[in-house]
Amino acid sequence: MVPAREVSILVVDDDEGHAELIRINLRRAGVSNPIVPLPSGADALDCVFCRGAYAGRQGDGELLVLLDINMAGIDGVEVLRQIKANPGTRKIPVIMLTTTDDPREVNRCYDLGCNVYLTKPVDPSAFIDAIRRLGLFISIVSTPTDPSKLS
């Protein structure tokens, strides 16, 4: 069940293991969309805004961002803020995925416009379950981003 316009999933996490686990579990959940692991906030922003190393990226594919909060350098909150501050990228769905369940942090992310907030469960089965539900969510979500508005 690949959507007509394929959605690329950006997995932004500076922990390679987390990114890999997310990928494995998404695949296992039946998500066949392209998955792009991005090791830092800076890479995520470059990729979303088609600049730097990602300048040649095709801007017409739709995106979904899985974003870790606690990253060295530009953190997830800043990436989220920049994506949601730009009218061209504001509608990209962003799912915060992190170990933090500090309510203040959660509220801050929702205030900045994150769509879903997922706590990375330490319990593997719960984690897989969450990723599965996420996969289901990704396969049904519609992401009406107008590529022409991308800066």
């Binding site: 922990d15 293991g17 686990l21 606690n70 170990t99 933090t100 500090d102 330490v122 319990d123 593997p124």
Partner: protein, 468 residues
């Protein structure tokens, strides 16, 4: 004026009187011998005048203007008297002299000095006037013995009265002056003490400011430590996600491998060896890893809970502890029934605290009491409370297994387990209680005898009138 100084002054005055009397006697004798009575009396009276001048000078030195002035005034009266016999114009004008003297000295007089002056002046006036009445012609009189007696008597009277009054007044004036001096001294002392107190106050304020600064620093440090614990436990969680995720992955890989092997035909010895590697090697290792990870996860979660405890905002309100305890007992009903423990709850005073936190404290304490009951004897748990000053003292007493005396010191530390064989736990319950109670300004302590039971005591703020 000190007693010694008063005595000295009195001796001095007595000496002066003696000198005056001595000279008086000499000059009287001299005058009688020479038959020059008038001269004799004049000399006598002048002697008195000189003496009074000396006293006056002495008083002046001591800055006692009132006394000095009165003495000068009396001296003038005496001088007038002494001049009377040898002046050609008679007595009446002289009678005015004492009155003029009073007028001159009035600005300096007051109280006792004024009375002294007036008496001297009246005496002087009366004696002069008297002499005028008895002896209208002064030129004829000098040789008269009566005149001598009168003049000398009047002068001596004036002089003695002066001295007597002076001495009499000395006590009063002295005590007044003493009083004034004492008052001045006291005032100085008061000023000194006030200055000392002000200095102390400044010191105290500084100490207070220091204390406040320290308190703020301490609170900051506490926050830092809690933030640190929070961050560390999060950072610990991150690798744990990988450990658990990938060991799960490893496990499913092994399962898949097993499936594949089952389908394949392998030599018997190889199959046996592979199965042994899988079962005894990989799966066993994975089990150990899994158990350790579960433990690690529990510890991290506990750390996080503990750090949240310090960050949690309290909403202080009037808490019906009786209701809190009974709802705790409701939620524990199943384990109470299973344990067969008898629970008695005494009337519990209200506290002014955070409702959730109080619930947590009693739930942990009662839960603990239930968990660690002594096997083979009916459990008995008693919950009580009574007001104690501005606090309420609560206790939870059980007849459970008790805590070894050597371990009681570590009772409220985090991650300490005392009966791991009896029940599951993260070793955090009592640490949480301590944190909660201390954040409310209370204290918590325990009395325990191994094999007999344990009583946990804690204090929480009482509801005062303002909060009620």
């Amino acid at each position: 004026m000190s007693e010694q100084a008063q005595r000295q002054l009195r001796h001095f005055l007595t000496a002066l009187i003696a000198v005056a009397v001595f000279f008086e006697a000499i000059f009287v004798a001299f005058a009688i011998l020479l038959h020059s009575v008038a001269l004799g009396s004049t000399v006598v009276i002048f002697t008195g005048f000189l003496v009074t001048c000396v006293i006056s000078w002495h008083s002046m030195r001591q800055e006692k203007l009132g006394r000095s002035a009165s003495i000068v005034g009396v001296s003038m009266v005496v001088a007038a008297l002494s001049l009377a016999p040898i002046l050609p114009f008679g007595y009446p004008p002289l009678a005015m002299v004492p009155l003029i003297a009073i007028a001159a000295m009035l600005p300096y007089l007051g109280g006792h000095s004024l009375r002294l002056m007036m008496i001297a002046a009246i005496l002087g006036t009366v004696s002069i006037t008297g002499m005028g009445l008895f002896f209208p012609n002064p030129i004829e009189l000098p040789r008269s013995l009566i005149h001598f007696l009168l003049v000398t008597g009047a002068a001596a009277c004036s002089f003695l009265i002066l001295v007597l009054f002076f001495q009499f007044g000395e006590g009063l004036r002295g005590s007044q002056e003493d009083l004034q001096r004492e008052r001045d001294k006291l005032e100085i002392r008061v000023e000194e003490r006030t200055a000392e107190l002000a200095a102390l106050n400044v010191d105290l304020r500084q100490v207070n400011e220091q204390l406040n600064r320290r308190t703020v620093q301490l609170a900051q440090k506490n926050e830092e430590v809690e933030a640190f614990v929070y961050i560390v436990s999060h950072d610990l969680r991150s690798p744990l996600v990988n450990l658990q995720g990938f060991s799960k992955e490893l496990e499913s890989c092994c399962k898949e491998l097993e499936e594949r092997l089952r389908g394949a035909t392998l030599p018997a010895n190889v199959e046996k060896a592979v199965n042994s590697i899988l079962a005894d090697g990989i799966y066993r290792a994975l089990r150990f890893i899994s158990v350790s990870m579960t433990k690690l996860q529990r510890l991290i979660d506990a750390l996080l809970r503990l750090s949240r405890l310090g960050r949690q905002e309290y909403r202080l309100e009037r808490v019906d502890v009786g209701a809190v305890v009974s709802s705790t007992l409701d939620s524990l009903r199943q384990s109470i029934q299973e344990s067969g423990a008898k629970i008695s709850v005494q009337p519990l005073p209200e506290t002014f605290a955070d409702l959730t936190a109080v619930g947590q404290v009693f739930s942990n304490l009662i839960g603990n009491a239930l968990k660690y009951l002594q096997l083979g004897r009916p459990g008995l748990i008693e919950i009580g409370g009574e007001p104690r000053d501005a606090m309420v003292h609560y206790w939870v007493r059980d007849n459970g297994s008790g805590i070894h005396a050597g371990a009681q010191r570590r009772l409220f530390q985090a991650f300490q387990r005392f009966h791991p064989q009896l029940a599951l736990g993260d070793g955090l319950g009592l640490a949480i209680i301590k944190r909660v109670v201390e954040r409310h300004g209370g204290t918590v302590w325990a009395e325990s005898t191994e094999g007999v039971g344990t009583t946990f005591h804690l204090t929480l703020p009482a509801v005062n009138a303002a909060q009620g």
